[in-house]
Each structure stands twice: as structure tokens, then as C-alpha cells.
């Protein structure tokens, strides 16, 4: 996802074609990131569109064109987090609206056995989902960005706008919780 800074400058000046170019170049990776952050395929596109609407209306707040990608990640993380908060509120008021995937996650967290027919990928995904359900939404997103998306601490520092040490502490605690949950599922593992 490499965006020419000149295109960002044009988009910031109100050039619709340049903005379209940014969206075309970034939407696929952004859709993938959102998919992993929110864990629900149905709403991925809506959240991605919210990200790009925010990009459109806050491009003038971008301090430097070189920092566009970190800034885009920041907007993505914020939009995904807002979505998860809204969803949580809805769930609290209407438990019957739980999506099938969330039920699976909840079952996984409760230690329910999966059916043997499920594929290896689905099983592994559900295992990661259940492990991630042990940490807060913020830590879950941080872990996904670090461990799944493979972002460096420097990149995370630019996205979250916090010091590297604070991120290290947060990551340490989140990893510990996940590891504890992993060991609980199978005491022989993680040693």
C-alpha cells in the first residue's frame, strides 16, 4: 500500500480523482485489516467506507504526507473500535441478535469442543479468536496489528501516538493474558 505523497497533496487540495486513486489503492488492504480487527465479514465494507469518509473530511488535519499510511491505520483502528463499541452496546440490549460467528467465539471462549468436520483453518481461526477474547478490545486490536499484520513498534508508535515503552508494557500484558489462556486450554503447551 504505497501512496505517492503528491497524490495525497492533490487529494488534500480537493482533487476528487486523487482521492479516488487513494481509495482504489488502499481499500483492499484496509478491508483485510478491518476483517481481522472486527471479525465479522458482513460489516467490513461499511466500516471501510466509514474510514474513507473520515479520510476525506480530515485530510487537512494530516500533518505530513509521508505519515499518510500510519494516519490511515490510525483512522482504521479508530473506526473498527467505534464499530465494536456500537456492536457491544447493541448486543447488551438484544442478546438474540448475536451473529453466528460471535456465538462460535463465545462457545470457543467457554471451551466448547468444535465439530470434527470443521477445516483446519477455521479451527485455528476460532482458536485465535477465543484467545483474543481474553483481552480487552484495545489490546486485541493492538495484538492483531503487531502479531498478525506484522507492524513494527515504530509503526505502532506513530499509529497510537504513544511512547514505545508504553506500547511494550501493554503488549507484554496482553501477550501474558493470551498465553495464560492458551496454557489453560492445554497445560502442556506454551512451556
Amino acid at each position: 500500500m504505497l501512496i505517492d505523497p503528491a497524490v495525497v497533496v492533490k487529494a488534500r487540495a480537493g482533487d476528487a480523482a486523487a482521492f479516488n486513486q487513494i481509495v482504489q489503492a488502499c481499500r483492499k488492504p484496509i478491508l483485510g485489516t478491518i476483517r481481522r480487527l472486527i471479525g465479522n465479514a458482513d460489516d467490513v465494507e461499511d466500516v471501510a467506507q466509514e474510514v474513507f469518509v473520515r479520510v476525506y473530511y480530515s485530510l487537512d488535519q494530516l500533518r505530513s504526507e509521508d505519515g499518510f499510511e500510519a494516519w490511515l491505520y490510525r483512522l482504521t483502528v479508530n473506526s473498527a473500535y467505534d464499530y465494536l463499541r456500537r456492536k457491544k452496546r447493541r448486543q447488551e440490549s438484544r442478546m438474540s441478535d448475536l451473529a453466528e460467528e460471535q456465538v462460535t467465539m463465545a462457545e470457543a471462549a467457554a471451551g466448547t469442543k468444535f465439530s470434527v468436520d470443521e477445516g483446519r483453518k477455521a479451527k485455528a481461526r476460532e482458536l485465535v479468536d477465543s484467545l483474543l477474547s481474553e483481552v480487552s478490545e484495545q489490546d486485541r486490536m493492538l495484538l492483531i496489528l503487531k502479531e498478525v499484520e506484522g507492524l513494527s513498534l515504530k509503526e505502532l508508535e506513530r499509529i497510537y501516538e504513544v511512547k514505545e515503552n508504553a506500547l511494550k508494557v501493554r503488549l507484554f500484558r496482553a501477550r501474558q493474558r493470551v498465553l495464560k489462556a492458551f496454557e489453560k486450554r492445554d497445560p502442556d503447551k506454551g512451556k
Partner: protein
């Protein structure tokens, strides 16, 4: 712990591949522009302003509460019921005394 054990590392690295690729729908761009235009409308601006006003009013109410309640509390005499009654009686007496004008003692008596 700066890293996960290798088994967990692999599991997390593979997590990205465990999800199928999400392809943007054909109407992604038209829908996006429709949303952008919708936020430009006066109705949306009014909604945002109304939300802002509600938040401002709530913040002002909280601030007033935080400032005024301690002020009112500090004006009340602390202590037992008898102290409170005595304080109020004294205050009432002072107000009564202030409202009564005494005759000028220097003036010659008739």
C-alpha cells in the same frame, strides 16, 4: 515477554490467511461518494451541531455541579442538629436586628 512462544507466533501469523480475502463490492465507490455527500448536507450538519450542543450542555451541568455543590456545602455549618438550629437562629436574629432602626441617642429628648 517480548514475543510469543513459536507455536503461538505461527498461529497468529497464520490468522491473516485464515480469513478469506474481502473483495470490495462493485458499488463501493458510488456508495462511498453518496456517504461523503450525505455528510455535506445541512441536515447532517444540524445533527452534528445538536449532538455538540447536548454534549456541551452536559459538560456545563457537570461543571456547575462540581463547582456549586462544594460551595453550597461549605456555607452550611457542620455539626449536630442543635448547632445547625443555633446557627440559623443567630442568622435570623442578626437579620432582624439589622432591619430595626434604633433612635438616635445623641438627639435631645422631648
Amino acid at each position: 515477554m517480548n514475543e510469543f512462544p513459536s507455536e503461538l507466533q505461527q498461529l497468529f501469523k497464520g490468522y491473516g490467511e485464515f480469513h478469506e480475502d474481502v473483495e470490495p463490492s462493485k458499488d463501493f465507490m458510488p456508495r462511498l461518494w453518496a456517504k461523503i455527500e450525505a455528510r455535506r448536507s445541512p441536515w447532517f450538519a444540524m445533527q452534528r451541531m445538536a449532538r455538540l450542543m447536548v454534549v456541551t450542555a452536559m459538560a456545563a451541568a457537570l461543571l456547575m455541579g462540581a463547582v456549586l455543590i462544594p460551595m453550597m456545602e461549605s456555607q452550611k455549618p457542620a455539626g449536630f442538629y442543635a448547632d445547625v438550629v443555633a446557627h440559623d437562629t443567630l442568622k435570623a436574629d442578626q437579620e432582624y436586628a439589622a432591619s430595626v432602626s434604633l433612635p438616635d441617642l445623641e438627639a435631645p429628648h422631648r
